[in-house]
């Protein structure tokens, strides 16, 4: 009998040698005449344990990690496939049953329910794990009822803006047009975020299903996934999954024999961060420079090619199937306040145990950083965390007890964004980080509005003076003044939110700017 061995094909796992491990296991098994069936699954998101190899047993999967190719012959010597063997149990990389790992067991994985469990491109596997149950239910409902279900679930845009998804859909539903579009914003450019990538590489069908449901709900027959060019692995997986879904009748002109049609295409972005902003993204999809549009008109009314368009983030769309499968209330029962459901949180930067933690809103940063993250990777104290990407505020240790909740973050002049948390140890120089925030804005500005285009460059220059010690107090006042202009005068969040990391760095870490307190 052939033993099933799971080895992730997720690009982060590949980045630490998963391919080599898979080859080594296959070769060593052949050499020893042992029958193994290797399944390339997704990653469970416990990245510090990658490459995590799992062996299928009748009690569940037993994990070993982090496995390097050089460990493989030792694993075979320890009879690792026979998980009951004393030598396998005693192996230093044996982690026990995957499902019993506390890090995983304590999570509330709704959007990520299948990630790491299934073979990403196997439609059979998707169907065997509750796949397409949401679509089946949606096909029984009226368009308005699908939209109502999404509205009632409390789902808010997971890209960062947190706008209620159902309300956006309702606007598109209410527009009369010969053509409407569903656009998935997969231009996940925020540093510290990778949950979109994980969904696309590790459970692509859930995104396809979510977009199909969105199409049926609002009357759109064409969907585009605008995928960043930095994600070549996701491109391959998505295209393979789309082809299989088409073949099986889950995409195309008559979905599952119904009168609904929905076609889907992946479009590659080209390395412009600003194209994560929805109107810039639409310009780019139309084949133009990614210049931000004025709003109104809202994309929901005049979006892609001037037609009503739903633009949603990957995670928002990938969460729709479980809401349609289990009901609005099931999802809304998770969370706190007006932040309903769960958030896939990504631990990144200088963190010992980085990875994907999906939990209901309400957990604190401190719990995430220390209980899940295990503190810094360097072993030094965590001095600051940046939440929500390069436009998110830096938070000092005194704010680590803030619960993850859109409104709680707003109250301390911070943002949750896309749920990425980047930790920095005490060697970080916050003045340099403030300079970098301006620099990044200057590199990525689309150039349409002056506060962002010119302000970012002036910001770098003034920060250089502050770092060099020239007229510090005067120049910090100048940065505050410039930030005020950018904050209130920019056309989109790129220029409008660059002041978040800059001012939070000054306000919380004045010593790094060589000033006594932030009140200058």
């Amino acid at each position: 009998m052939s033993t099933i061995v799971y080895i992730p094909r997720d690009s982060s796992a590949l980045s630490v040698g998963a391919e080599k491990v898979a080859n080594a296991i296959s070769q060593e098994a052949a050499k020893r005449g042992i029958a193994v069936t290797i399944v390339r699954n997704g990653s469970r998101g416990l990245y510090w344990l990658e490459t995590m190899v799992e062996v299928s047993t009748d009690k569940g999967r037993v994990a070993y990690g982090p496995v390097k190719a050089a460990d493989v012959s030792g694993l075979f010597k320890a009879d690792f496939l026979n998980t009951e063997a004393a030598s396998a149990k005693a192996h230093r990389l044996n982690l026990g049953l995957t499902e019993e790992l506390a890090w995983l067991k304590q999570q509330q994985r709704l959007t990520f329910a299948r990630v790491g469990i299934t073979d990403p491109v196997s439609l059979e596997d998707y169907l065997a794990h509750d796949g397409y149950q949401g679509l089946k239910n949606a096909l029984e409902l009226s368009a308005a009822d699908i939209v109502k279900t999404v509205t009632d679930s409390g789902l808010r845009g997971r890209g960062g803006a947190a706008f209620p998804t159902g309300i956006k859909w309702n606007t598109v539903l209410g527009c009369a047009a010969d053509q409407k579009y569903i656009v998935c914003n997969a231009d996940e450019g925020d540093s510290g975020t990778y949950s979109d990538r994980m969904i696309m590489e590790n459970d692509p069908y859930v995104l396809i299903e979510g977009m199909t449901i969105a199409g049926i709900a609002v009357g759109a027959t064409q969907g585009y996934i605008y995928l960043r060019s930095e994600y070549p692995h996701a491109l391959v997986v998505l295209n393979e999954a789309i082809a299989k879904a088409e073949q099986a009748g889950y995409l195309g002109d008559n979905i599952l024999g119904s009168s609904y049609g929905f076609n889907l295409e992946v479009r590659r972005a080209a390395g412009a961060y600003v194209c994560g902003e929805e109107t810039s993204l639409l310009e780019s999809l139309e084949g133009k420079r990614g210049l931000v549009r004025f709003k109104p008109p809202l994309p929901a009314i005049e979006g892609l090619f001037g037609k009503p368009t739903v633009v949603n983030n990957v995670i928002s769309l990938a969460t729709v199937p479980i809401i349609l499968h289990k009901g609005a209330q099931y999802y809304a029962d998770y969370g706190m306040g007006r932040s309903r459901g769960t958030l896939p949180i990504q631990l990144a930067g200088n963190i010992k145990q980085g990875g994907l933690v999906e939990l209901a809103f309400g957990i604190t940063l401190r719990e995430l950083l220390y209980d899940y993250g295990g503190g810094s990777a360097s072993g030094r104290p965590i001095k600051a965390v940046q939440v929500g990407g390069p436009l998110g505020a830096f938070l000092p240790e005194s704010q680590f007890d803030t619960p993850l909740d859109y409104e709680a973050f707003s109250a301390i002049w911070a943002v949750l964004g896309h749920g990425g948390i980047v930790a920095f140890d005490d060697t970080v120089d916050m003045a340099k980080m403030a300079r970098y925030a301006f620099e990044f804005c200057a590199i990525e500005s689309c150039g349409k509005c002056t506060p962002c285009r010119i302000g970012s460059t002036r910001g770098v220059e003034v920060m250089d003076k502050i770092i060099a010690g020239t007229d510090r107090v005067k120049n910090i006042k100048l940065v505050r003044d410039l930030s005020d202009t950018m904050l209130n005068g920019s056309l989109c969040a790129l220029g409008g939110m660059t002041p978040y990391p800059v001012l939070s760095a000054i306000n919380h870490f004045p010593a790094d700017f060589n000033i006594k307190d932030a009140a200058v």
Partner: protein, 169 residues
């Protein structure tokens, strides 16, 4: 360092026909310009300026508009890069794990700055702002292969392998 612009595509045999094929394949697609530019870059590893007039005519654009789009996006290259492209992540998560040191080390090993190609034409060095490998920072990408928790020694080995692989061809 290779700064001289040579439009090598114009001398590559069969390119004119290939370009016509690509244009014919993509031109009726809604929003065709980016997919077409990607296809050209996939083929040649850059987008030669000599292709702009044909692209412009086929898509009813001005040459200036095509130039505007090519130059807007960091991903599109107007010069032929080296045989390999090494991208080093400069974003915050990687900075928190010492990417600045990696950047300096790569520049030193290759004796070039960003957006330049090593003397032997083996490697073009580019910055990148997030590869989505932030749990395993610092990250780099060699062509389309991604590497995580990269040390200076790992980076040297990567550069060495890329140069060696070419030498054997």
């Amino acid at each position: 360092m290779q700064d001289t612009f040579i439009d090598q595509a114009s001398v590559q045999a069969g390119w004119t026909e290939k370009l016509d094929q690509l244009i014919a394949h993509y031109k009726s697609l809604p929003g065709a310009l980016l997919p077409l530019l990607h296809a050209i870059q996939d083929e040649l590893s850059y987008i030669p300026e000599s292709a702009y007039p044909k692209i412009a005519r086929a898509l009813s654009l001005s040459v200036a508009e095509v130039h505007g789009v090519v130059s807007f996006y960091h991903h599109f290259k107007t010069h032929k890069p080296g045989r390999h492209v090494l991208q080093i992540c400069r974003a915050e998560s990687c900075q928190a794990m010492g990417s600045e040191g990696l950047e300096a080390h790569a520049k030193q090993c290759l004796s070039i700055d960003y957006h330049q190609t090593s003397q032997d034409q083996a490697i073009t060095l580019e910055p990148v702002y997030c590869l989505g490998n932030c749990a395993l920072s610092p990250a780099v990408m060699m062509d389309e292969e991604i590497f995580g928790r990269v040390s200076k020694a790992d980076l040297e080995a990567l550069i060495h392998d890329a140069k060696k692989a070419e030498a054997q061809v």
